[in-house]
């Protein structure tokens, strides 16, 4: 968990229409393909979606695509992405696949989880 600064893809972004279907990868930057697993319209799930949207707008404007999966309607999809916790955010692209569980209320941690910011430790 070295804090060595890696190139941060999130900062080399271009504006793109956010509700686009997945666009092929652009040459110099990546589109974030995000899938949010929820189970019905629970407050946690609604909160997670709102938080996600806000974070994406702030840090990945025009460069992301959010797909919502309601497990109550598509229970068979839980297996594929190994979903246990709800809500779970899966970053499907860029690879590798990343998972963030919870209502995404801690923006810092979401950014770290999405590799938009290197993990920071207080005591190092």
């Amino acid at each position: 968990m070295a804090a060595a600064a890696k190139p941060q893809p999130g900062y080399r972004i271009k504006v793109q229409t956010q509700l686009n279907a997945v666009t092929p990868l652009m040459t110099s930057s990546e589109t974030f393909l995000l899938r949010l697993y929820v189970a019905g319209q629970t407050p946690k799930c609604v909160r997670a979606f709102e938080n996600l949207k806000r974070i994406c707008e702030e840090h990945l404007p025009g460069h992301y695509h959010i797909e919502m999966v309601d497990l109550l309607q598509n229970p068979q999809l839980a297996r594929g992405d190994q979903i246990l916790a709800v809500p779970t955010l899966v970053r499907r692209l860029p690879e590798p696949i990343k998972k963030i569980i919870g209502d995404l209320s801690n923006t810092e941690r979401v950014l770290v989880g999405l590799d938009l910011r290197p993990a920071r430790r207080l005591n190092t």
Binding site: N51, L71, Q82, L84, A85, V86, T88, I100, I101, S105
Partner: protein, 485 residues
């Protein structure tokens, strides 16, 4: 059987386990199986589930947190279960749940609804009545928030009960508690503990029912086996004492000894202990018994723990007993095994399998004292109890020889096992007038008026010959050696 209202039970189909639990695990409720690594938890849980499908027509869900579906399928294939086929037939769902902490970032509140959705989906897709979660505790390694996990586990157990699922959950043995995460707190119905101990380089597996609410159950530790036929528990005492008691008698092969046993020899289907110090002729007396049985056309299975069959047959030929002829005619089979080759559990299994295959009328185990090199007295005793229960259930007459160390008191040495035996014949040897003389007596023989005399006998070219009447030694100076039995 009892006035207490017994719970509804789901049979596990595991040999022995259903006997000690009086019918299986609690139906529609969770049962916890805990034990250390390699103790057989997964196998027990999987057997419960697969037997449910194959033997009892109850579809099932196997949710595994540790092994992938493929790994599990290949493990269980060796026991004759075809997971792929059961899945295809729509009777089984195997769901491998992978939780890897390093891949998961946690931020804010969550619950395990995803797990519930998967369970619900799996259960409803096959109409499952049985479910196995192996091992749910892996969640604690994968997720950081124990508070949420505990709350969700409680919800999970409630969910299982509401669904009326007969569940078996496995848990890793903890240092202070039964399981690392204290799962036993959530399961109030039944807890089974598995143990795998190695004592003096010999491993023994044991099973104990720690808790079984509202039901009778055996409280002992029961040895259990894992072999190519799967898992089987040896309910040492619970087979009960319900075996048939035959009135028919079988000759000991020595007419004078028959006389001492109210004229007719041992009861068929009973157990006989022949004990004595080295060189007293225990094996010779056993050979007489085998010879007599073969002459009647009965099959004999002879377990040798010390000599090879060839050596034994040569030695017996020297006292005029030709066992070779019976081997040739297929009436006599030997199974020679060094005791140290396996643990007691394996010996027991292999003996039982041999008996089941050959279906003899008579078995001999010679000498059982050699088994003490691979187990403690109480282990050997429990093993013998199981063998004896089995033999009696099949009405097979069992003869066991036991070597008494010269230095120790006879009764003390054999006390542990003698209570399992119906007839106990004691052989002794003593020096008198520069000659080694042998004496024989019937220490006990249940259900018959047996002789209380100590008779001298000789090992001759024509076999073991019991001398008539009171041995002369009774009145002589050396009598104490003989009478001091």
């Amino acid at each position: 059987m009892s006035a207490i209202q017994e719970l509804a039970k789901s049979p596990t189909g595991i040999h022995g386990l259903d006997e000690i639990t009086n019918g299986g695990v609690p139906k529609g409720r969770p049962t916890l199986v805990c034990g250390g690594a390699g103790s057989g938890k997964t196998l027990l849980a999987a057997s419960f589930l697969l037997n449910g499908i194959v033997k009892f027509g109850e579809p099932g869900v196997l949710m595994t947190f540790e092994e992938t579906a493929e790994e599990l399928a290949s493990d269980l294939a060796s026991l004759g279960y075809d997971l792929g086929k059961l899945v295809e037939e729509g009777k089984l769902v195997v769901d491998y749940v992978r939780v890897e902490r390093s891949e998961i970032e946690e931020t804010g509140e969550y619950d395990l609804e995803g797990l519930f959705v998967r369970l619900e989906h799996a259960v409803s897709s096959v109409g499952a009545q049985r479910i196995v979660l192996d091992t749910i505790e892996s969640l604690f390694a994968g997720l950081a928030n124990p508070g949420i996990l505990r709350a969700e586990l409680r919800r999970l157990f409630r969910w299982l009960k509401d669904k009326g699922l007969t569940a078996v959950l496995t848990g890793e043995r903890g240092d202070a508690a039964l399981t690392r995460q204290g799962l036993e707190e959530y399961v109030s119905d039944a807890v089974i503990l598995l143990d795998h101990r190695v004592e003096e380089q010999v491993s023994t597996r044991r099973l104990r029912i720690v808790k079984y609410r509202g039901s009778h159950h055996g409280t002992n530790e029961y040895p259990f086996l894992i072999d190519r036929d799967g898992l089987s528990v040896l309910p040492v005492t619970s087979l009960g004492l319900s075996h048939p008691a035959l009135k028919e008698r079988v000759s000991t092969g020595v007419a004078k000894l028959d006389d001492m046993l109210s004229g007719q020899g041992y009861y068929r289907g009973s157990t006989v202990l022949l004990s004595g110090t080295a060189g007293t002729g225990k094996t010779s007396l056993a050979a007489h018994f085998v010879d007599a049985a073969c002459r009647r056309g009965e099959c004999c299975l002879y377990f040798l723990f010390e000599e090879s069959p060839q050596q034994l047959m040569r030695n017996m030929l020297s006292i005029g007993i030709d066992l070779q002829q019976w081997v040739k005619r297929g009436l006599l089979q030997f199974q020679a095994e060094r005791p140290s080759r396996f643990g007691l559990e394996t010996h027991l299994a292999s003996m039982q399998r041999a008996v089941a295959k050959f279906k003899p009328a008579v078995t001999v185990a010679d000498p059982i004292t050699n088994l003490l090199t691979v187990g403690t007295h109480s282990d050997v005793r429990s093993m013998l109890t199981r063998i004896i229960d089995y033999l009696k259930g099949e009405s097979i007459t069992g003869l066991f020889t036991s070597l008494t160390p010269g230095s120790r008191e006879l009764e003390e040495t054999d006390a542990g096992i003698s209570s399992l035996m119906d007839t106990w014949v004691v052989l002794t040897i003593a020096e008198q007038n520069k000659r080694r003389r042998r004496w024989l007596s019937v220490l006990k023989s249940r259900g018959m008026a047996h002789s209380d005399t100590v008779r001298e006998y000789l090992l001759t070219e024509r076999g073991l010959q019991v001398l008539d009447g009171e041995p002369e030694a009774r009145s002589g100076g050396g009598s104490k050696a003989a009478a001091g039995l």
